[in-house]
Symmetry: C2
Subunit: 269 residues, 2 copies
């Protein structure tokens, strides 16, 4: 099968190009259960986290790089497909005028909630109906930084495997566990074991600084415009407030999650 | 002049429509020194902060709202221009398929560094070469929340008056002072008065938690991919590190600024 595993593609209408382009679209990503990640740094982060793309797409005439060689060898060794294509076709695939010289197709990395080991980390981030893929990616990145176990997506969130989310995660999409669940599944799962559910809230809340956090701590962040539904807040073990000294009554969702996560991290140290 | 101050525009090729559309482009914004903000909430935030648009653009057939009436009256009372236009023309102006029913043109709100009163607030945010307008808007929003005085933009930053930055600021573009300067101007200005310059850094740094912050504290955040130039870090009074427990060695720029700003706020309380 070596003949299939290495291809050169020169035509825009090639079916593989169409397949790759379709991965920019959520509907197609869902159906294929595959996503696209771009750039040598991101793909190297993936490799160093033990995750290889099924397909590696490289621009012809790219600058040589030892990390590119390492990727190519690893993908070939694992039986993956390697594609070389002119830069303008790669630009069409990634939808960027100045694309990175390398991209990879990965199998989606969802973990079923039922198989998540909550004892593996002291902190978990939970996003409820977050609509901005950049916010999801930023939460993954923050999760990596605070040593969180992963990000649990509740209700209808943006796609964590979209190009923007993957890019904003700076590689954390490959290191953080990602689970997706409805609230009606999440809450019973949480209550079946240890776990403190904490939300930033204005209702019946204590100051976030020095609040009685306990492990494993699940930090719940709500939708960008509506915040958390009242019943979700009511189900939390701890509601905390952050100072708001200005006109606004809330922070950006990813920022609120990060300020809270760093506070919890400090409390656990 | 009442005849000029109220117009109905029905044609896409109307010069006012062209002017309004051009404000989505940085070059034109700079030349006109005007920017566009969309949405009743944002425009109401502006009004409540004492800032009115020079021109108010409203979609015909919009739902009536007392806040819209209040805006209209205020703009008319101040001698501004009020424009009514079909929703599809407003969509073309804002570049969104589902535009808000109202938008306003504001004079840019830069404050010259030389007129900034540093004693007016205990915290100031400083962004160096930040390229993402969403990050700038998020920093403005965080600044509002921590009671900062404003955001100082050093070197070539994204435009704080772009539609994305204004939107992400959630109104803070109207409450935070915004100054733009080269590093070569900023540092002498800073050193001519009180002010501690603090950066998140890996070099010669102390833990960010419990570091000796002092007022007014200027929190410096560097470019998204390159971070701060070494000489800028060296010029800081205090370099602090945040825990990085994962693979990554940095946080999103707006997140790093926010975690640090909340720590400084707690230290000053």
């Amino acid at each position: 099968m070596a003949a299939i595993s290495r291809q050169r593609i020169t035509g825009f209408s090639n079916p593989t190009v169409k397949f790759l382009r379709s991965l920019r679209d959520k509907k197609h990503r869902r159906r294929e259960r595959r996503f696209l990640a771009e750039g040598l740094r991101l793909l190297t982060d993936a490799r160093e986290s033990g995750i290889l793309p099924e397909m590696l797409v490289m621009a012809e005439g790219r600058d040589p790089h030892s990390l590119t060689d390492a990727l190519e060898n690893a993908v070939a060794g694992a039986g993956g497909t390697i594609i070389e294509t002119p830069p303008d076709i790669l630009a069409k695939i990634t939808g960027k005028a100045n694309p990175q010289a390398i991209a990879g197709v990965f199998a989606e990395l969802d973990t079923p909630l039922s198989t998540l080991d909550r004892t593996a980390a002291p902190i978990w981030l939970v996003a409820q109906a977050l609509r901005d893929p950049g916010n999801l990616g930023t939460m993954l990145r923050t999760g990596d930084a605070v040593g969180a176990g992963g990000l649990i997506l509740i209700d209808d969130c943006a796609d964590p495997f979209s190009v923007e989310a993957v890019r904003a995660s700076m590689g954390a999409v490959f290191t953080q566990r990602i689970a997706q669940a409805r609230w009606e599944e999440f809450l019973p799962w949480l209550r079946a074991g240890d776990g403190q559910l904490v939300a930033a809230s204005l209702r019946d809340a204590v100051p976030y600084r020095g609040a009685p956090y306990s492990r494993p701590c699940f930090i719940l962040v709500g939708n960008e415009s509506r915040g958390l539904p009242e019943e979700y807040e009511a189900a939390c073990d701890l509601r905390v407030t952050m100072p708001m000294r200005g006109r606004a009554d809330s922070l950006n969702a990813a920022v609120a999650g990060a300020v809270l996560a760093y506070e919890v991290l400090a409390a656990f140290d």
